[in-house]
Symmetry: C2
Subunit: 189 residues, 2 copies
């Protein structure tokens, strides 16, 4: 699936654009290979954390780029849509994984990869794991209440056993929760 975009920008305005455009890369042959490896690496990486492929592609591209890239360049190189690029960059900006950098004679917003990969991991923990843990806590509370009620009304059917399971589960939950800050700290220096 190739996009038919013409790669060469028609507005040949000065050195900075030329550099950006010529990045594959300084015409060096190994560069696009490197780019592909990088993209592959980060696609695989972000997918571990349940993020869409396009996020990995964008970050992977910026990671090996020697210059800051504007959105339309990213669109052209990756062959993804403007929409994907815009949304992806918004997310990555939000994570701090990608940083805007203004380029003198160019009005477009340019982006650079922030090397601190741990932000992506941090995002996973804060936005995916933590909320579930919180909701899980509440849910376990409810379960405990229900099980207690059952035990009272229904002495002989093993509900006491269920009650104990729930308590054990609460311990696990706690343990998991206490692990989060440890991991986060480990990843930050």
């Amino acid at each position: 699936m190739e996009s038919k975009s013409s790669v060469t920008p028609s507005h040949g305005a000065g050195f900075s654009l030329a550099e950006v455009d010529g990045t594959r890369g300084g015409s060096s042959p190994g560069s696009s290979e490197l780019m592909e490896e990088s993209i592959g690496f980060f696609v695989s990486f972000v997918q571990v954390f349940g993020l869409p492929k396009s996020i990995g592609q964008i970050y992977g591209l910026l990671f090996v780029s020697t210059t800051a890239l504007p959105m339309d360049e990213i669109v052209a190189r990756l062959g993804i849509s403007k929409g994907s690029a815009s949304q992806g960059l918004t997310l990555l900006k939000g994570l701090g994984a990608v940083v805007p950098k203004s380029v003198p004679l160019d009005r477009r917003e340019h982006f650079v990869a922030d090397l601190n990969v741990s932000r992506i991991v941090g995002h996973f923990f804060e936005n995916r794991l933590q909320p579930r843990l919180d909701h899980g806590d509440r849910r376990l509370g409810t379960m405990l209440e229900l099980a207690k009620a059952m035990e009272r009304s229904d002495k002989d059917d093993g509900s006491a056993n269920v009650l104990n399971r729930i308590r054990a589960l609460q311990k696990w939950q706690k343990r998991g929760r206490s692990l989060v800050p440890i991991v986060v700290r480990w990843l930050k220096r």
Copy 2:
């Protein structure tokens, strides 16, 4: 003998526990409210680790069941298909998260939830994270070679900077890898 005709939940789309439940004949599984909470809890839980919903449903059901349940009972209570149940149970057995238990006068295989939830987490680490880390290592090696080649051929375009990024990424990778056994150990007792 169970009469299949009335029980068969062939009304397709969506899953509704309330509909299926209300069955309090014979074995007592616990209150349907508790069941729903448990299922919700575990569905949410397994989804963090990229496992399908049905896995969480099955485990959640067994977790609050006071008796071992055969597959057809699971199918009936959850309103899922035989296929899903079979595959789900196979996976859960594989994890050791669910354990078969023979019930005297019954030829069907019955199942009990193993309380050790960490098996599911362990599965995530071993099957999802570890392989990616391994492949990532190789990929980073390739990237480093490519970047070195670039640097040699192309002194002034910032490729040295890219080289350093890759090296930094390798450090991150190592750090992440070293974290895995720590977490696994933490979860096992």
